[in-house]
Amino acid sequence: MSAVMITRKVRKWEKLPGKNTFCCDGRVMMARQKGVFYLTLFLIVGTCSLFFAFECPYLSIHLSPAIPVFAIVLFLFVLAMLLRTSFSDPGVLPRALPEEATFIEMEIEAANGNVPAGQRPPPRIRNVQINGQIVKLKYCYTCKIFRPPRASHCSICDNCVDRFDHHCPWVGNCVGKRNYRYFYLFTLSLSLLTIYIFTFDIVHVVMRSVDSGFVKTLQDTPGTYPFKVLVCFFTLWSVVGLTGFHTYLISLNQTTNEDIKGSWSGKNRVQNPYSHKNMLKNCCEVLCGPAYPSVLDRRGLMQDNLPIPASAGLPAIQGNPVPQTTKTTAPLLPNEHTPDDTKPSISDSAIAHAEKRSPSPKEEKQSTLHKVLPIPISPPTPTKVPPLASPETDADASVIIPREKTL
């Protein structure tokens, strides 16, 4: 049966595994559930619009025109930071290609030796010494890699993220190495904006009450106050608290994930090997360190081969070509999700948790387009070679992969 190969160029983001949604031809990258993010946008834009519409005219005349100007600058900064956090790649680690995955598997089997039948193989852990401290690197069954230190797998986005902090439903994205500073600046500037609006709400009410009485003031500006006061009050306590918490984490160079798990809580004499032991230096590294590039290359082009057999019968499968990564291969061992793979975001409300697992209909449709095809691709099955390396920690770097013909 002769087959015709149709080659077309696609952007790499179209072939990325994981549960992200992409917009603007790969420039924007977010999680699937975006409902809470829209709520965040609505609350911020709504509250500020009311402030600009109802209070700023009075305040700029009776106090100073600098007040609304500063509010606008702060508002724009908050929006910029929010969008930057939500739309950028948090530091996703690409999954291992089949050869790399096989190579790691062989290394693991060599290290484990012979496991008696019926007995469970030992957990896949690599011990690494970092700044004098032993750190355990866990193996990720989904991405088929040993996770680098501080990386963690987000089950909501189904990606391993470097320096994983938490998955934040309010920004609709994971917070990781690449967007942590934007997230922190977002919470910080939002705290300032909330305090600012709250303060000038009170100033406005007081000034008007002095002029015309409290009751009349409330009658003159109906509706806006209950909404704004409520939003500001709750935002104040939650966002300011969150900012304080993250300031504490940054000064110790810890992530939320590590804090929750108590990785460096001090028991067993374990200390944080990443901390510079100097608060200022820690802050500088996290907030003013180099801007890490994305390793995903979402907008790169790649060849996509669509085999169309000459004898028709195959349904049109445009948009679902054969993926190149380990997405289609069955896991070589049962897919074990350790309990600490799911990372709830700290101090986020229960509403967010309830929304976590339910994709909207539109996203559901999109997810089926990215689903795995029934075309099976088995990884190149290596012939058994006797273990070359003696089981040792991270030091050994190579194992021969038996002969395979590739393009």
Binding site: A80, R84, E99, E100, F103, C288, G289, L296, D297, L388
Partner: protein, 143 residues
Amino acid sequence: MAENHSLQDLRQQAAISAKVFIQRDYTNGTVCQFQTKFPSELENRIDKQQFEETVRTLNSLYAEAEKLGGSSYLEGCLACLTAYTIFLCMETHYEKVLKKIARFIREQNDKIYAPRGLLLTDPIERGLRVVEITIFEDRSLGR
């Protein structure tokens, strides 16, 4: 140009004999460093010193990219003041060094690795996890 052509030919004509993956070295933390240990598969292909030199230079380039110092702080603060919009028109320091690294790997491939039937893959294409070295079949000795 001619050298690129020969690399293409190499990739298309030669069969891949094996792949070696140089792993990351985490002893100094999460900075991007690769292990300099010489893999045994390359023993009859390339000098140990040559290989170690390549990896050491790569490590020093990545260290330069991730260096915490006056210039990186300045870049960070300036970017923050412009709400990071400056990155829409300006290249970050890290991206500049990545281009340097890409150039370095191309040169190494052209001058040293391709004539020996080897091919270095830029680590950025593997998520900065490994340096992948493809070993091609040693067909012709008189290339």
